[in-house]
Amino acid sequence: MPGAAGLPRRNGELVFDAPWESRAFGLAVALHQARLFRWEEFQGRLIGEIAAWERDHGGDLSSWNYYQRWLRALELLVVDKGLCSPGELRGAVSEAAAADDHHHA
């Protein structure tokens, strides 16, 4: 996958496992620093997402991915705070998916 080889390393360990994780991280922090939500609001969502995942997955942790929980929490929060509507988010995802398809075609 293009880009994976370019992930920076410190002390031989990756801070993020994939570029999208770093973007999700930076996006949450940047939105908070822009005072669009208090960190506790995001943290509360993240706690909820993690708890829901753990309930749904019982003893099978094999599909655990922290930043998937993070991104989901962020999607829910930005809609909740009125930063975008579910429809706008839906549209953006469809657009990005289409652009991705064309890129790989």
């Binding site: 801070v15 922090v29 822009a34 943290q43 509360g44 969502r45 991915n65 829910l76 988010l89 990005a96």
Partner: protein
């Protein structure tokens, strides 16, 4: 603090679904919010760069080394951790309320966030995957000695009290590990080079430099 134990179910069909490509979803969310002028790509780039390159355990290691070398600084670190770190120009997000716990021959402290992944970013950077893993969080809380032994190879004598600290709320705990023997006369820089992230979370001890005993 508002907290959500449950996330409301997204309206069916309108919300990105978990099985949709995660990288596409991340890209879409960023693009949408940038387009709305709420954030800039540059701001995100800078944050990513800061946490990939500049903010990490080497900062905490400096604080530990200073505490080992300077008893007055150590006292300040234990009584007002933020003030001590500020003296070294260290502080910031997720470190607004830090509290450093001193490991001694009698007491061994270890830190976990039981609900998510709270961690003192200014001194340790972002948490490693294992710290965020559900199994670490539950096992370290319920059976710390076993977790330390089985998962981290750290065997503690029965006479040592193990204390587990939950960083879920406001306070970000981290550990001042014991200074190993054989480090007399080392400079602060050399001492800092011995201190690992694992030791500052409490899942390891600092090892004496090789060649000295």
């Amino acid at each position: 603090m508002s907290s959500q134990a449950e996330s409301p179910p997204p309206v069916a069909g309108t919300f990105p679904q978990p099985e949709e490509d995660i990288a596409v979803r991340a890209k879409a969310l960023e693009a949408l919010l940038v387009e709305k002028g709420l954030v800039s790509t540059d701001a995100i780039d800078q944050l990513v760069s800061a946490y990939e390159n500049d903010i990490g355990p080497m900062l905490g290691a400096k604080v530990v080394a200073r505490a080992w070398a300077d008893p007055a600084f150590k006292e300040l670190l234990l009584t007002d951790s933020n003030a001590a770190c500020r003296q070294l120009g260290i502080g910031g997000m997720q470190g607004e309320h830090m509290r450093v716990l001193e490991n001694t021959p009698q007491v061994h402290h270890v830190v976990v966030c039981t609900l998510c992944s709270c961690y003192p970013w200014p001194v340790l950077g972002l948490p490693p995957n294992w710290y965020k893993y559900p199994a670490y969080r539950s096992k370290m809380t319920r059976e710390p000695r076993r977790a330390l032994r089985e998962d981290f190879g750290l065997e503690l004598d029965d006479s040592v009290e193990v204390k587990v600290w939950d960083s879920s709320a406001e306070i970000r705990y981290w550990v001042l590990p014991q200074r190993p023997a054989g480090t007399e006369g080392m400079s602060e820089q050399e001492l800092a080079g011995l201190v690992t992230r694992e030791a500052m979370i409490g899942v390891a001890e600092v090892e004496a430099p090789s060649g000295r005993s």
